[in-house]
Symmetry: C3
Subunit: 226 residues, 3 copies
């Protein structure tokens, strides 16, 4: 890669999910994770490589106890945990202890295809949490993290370890690692085009004319520096 | 009309959607737009005549580009944009550029039967946005504003151009233009009745007695000025 | 009972729904009320005995008027109203007048298996309201409180008058009255165990090790006072 991970994160976090989705669109890539929402109001953009976790339901034997998951000490600083619990909303796979560990280990954020709990505490500390639902009934002894760092599916979208996750108040999406540099360049051009359109509009131009002038039909071709 | 549009707006915005829904109920009118919610927390009541926009899905030819919609320069000051995208939540028909134009053109607010994006920016500027969902995947090249200022349907409810839209933290509804004066008068009487009931309750009366005393069964008959 | 109601409330309100759900789990009890959410952001934990209300749809005769419900003067100080409207989201059974009476009568909070209105006002006064939905179309003349203080069902979960309701930002649940003392003791032990785990983690221990050391497999056995 030509851009360092540090720079990539900074540039992605200066953008937002709509411009990144548009950039992916221009490359015929689809990354949106439908039905996943920020649980902390006013969430700003976060971006980091995915650490994937795969949960499955299981029947425990009487008297056995199983943690829902012990993967978190394996997650690297700056990574985004992405948990596939098949969208189940009837039990939770994230809570206050995991949040505390995530903050201590400087994990970037968590995306749950399923439910999370301890929402009040998560909001109080401002940890970037995105999920399909909130609830309080534990996944312990009901579901189990059977694997991690394997490809998982959130709805129709595949997330591979190391793919980039970007998330904000509009939702969460995944950028395949091989395309992330081209996506960030195009997204910056799109953002640049949009800012020119907005400036023209602010100066009194009609939207249709402003869009035509600034080539809104091919916004990723605008040089980001002009 | 006997009441000016300016006065009508002021009187409606001093009310809320529950009292207006009750006033319509007393006239056997149904206006609630189910499943539409405020996207900006703490939304106060907005009211204005509807400017309707009708989107349809389409298949683009390879290489073609279509804006999702260029209608916004046609919308009048103080109007409420109502977009019918058939409740689709898998792509968006509202975002930050439209929000900026809407603010510049003093458009009153936007109601989307579908999804919106750039939610963080919309919340930051406090633009009155109501929608069925939030997401970030653009409607560009997927759906298209094929018509405007025609009757549209939000669920079972028809919205005609010029009908009044009222929306707040409880949701959004439409008042047919021909009934809006009678509705606002009845809603004010209802509000007046409710305030009397609340005052009686605050002074220690039981709710059942207070409701009977202030004729909660026919609250629209209370003179608003008494 | 050995613990006073006052003390029980204080101890439950110092906890949260996740630790209480875990305590119930350890006793093979299921209390979560799925699909019910706080309508006031940042809701702290509330707890009180249930006052149950059962609504049913009905067809009114022309010209008749029926309040949706007049039960509220029967509700005791510190109780939590639990309304079963069969999860209907197309009309409301809670609003600003009931909120005002509830505050005056020092009712602890309200849980609606259905929809509520006047959300802006409820948020302004900070009344603890939990519901499946928000809307503005009244239940008056559509549904009717036909009974109260009888067992009701919220989804699959039975709520009996006097059972304890606990609710916060993660959701709402019910504790059968007969088990509430054992549940509060176990929940305090769980909370205590979790705080030890969090302290160990904060001091640099791995999560798996911290969980093992503090017996996360049987957290309710930890003495709450150690």
């Amino acid at each position: 890669m030509n851009i360092t991970q540090h720079e990539l994160r900074q540039r992605l976090e200066a953008l937002d999910t709509p411009s990144i989705a548009d950039a992916m669109d221009s490359l015929d890539l689809y990354g949106p994770l439908q039905g996943i929402h920020n649980q902390v109001p006013g969430q700003k953009t976060i971006a980091g490589p995915a650490f994937t976790v795969f949960y499955r339901p299981f029947e425990r034997n009487p008297g056995e106890f199983h943690n829902a998951g012990n993967y978190i000490d394996l997650v690297g600083e700056g990574e985004v945990i992405v948990v596939d619990n098949q969208g189940r909303c009837d039990c939770t796979v994230w809570g206050d202890i995991l949040t505390e560990v995530a903050l201590r280990n400087r994990i970037c954020g968590t995306v749950i295809y399923g439910a999370a709990r301890d929402i009040g505490e998560v909001q109080r500390v401002g940890y970037p949490l995105f999920s399909a639902a909130k609830f309080m009934y534990s996944g312990k002894n009901r579901v189990r993290a059977v694997d991690n760092q394997i490809p998982i599916k959130i709805g129709d979208v595949t997330v591979r370890p190391g793919d980039w996750i970007v998330a904000d108040s509009s939702g969460a999406l995944v950028i395949p690692l091989a395309q992330v540099e081209e996506v960030v360049r195009r997204a910056e051009s799109i953002e640049n085009t949009e800012q020119k359109i907005r400036a023209s509009v602010r100066n009194g131009m009609g939207l249709e004319q402003a869009r035509a002038m600034h080539r809104y039909d091919r916004p990723w071709e605008t040089a980001a520096t002009t």
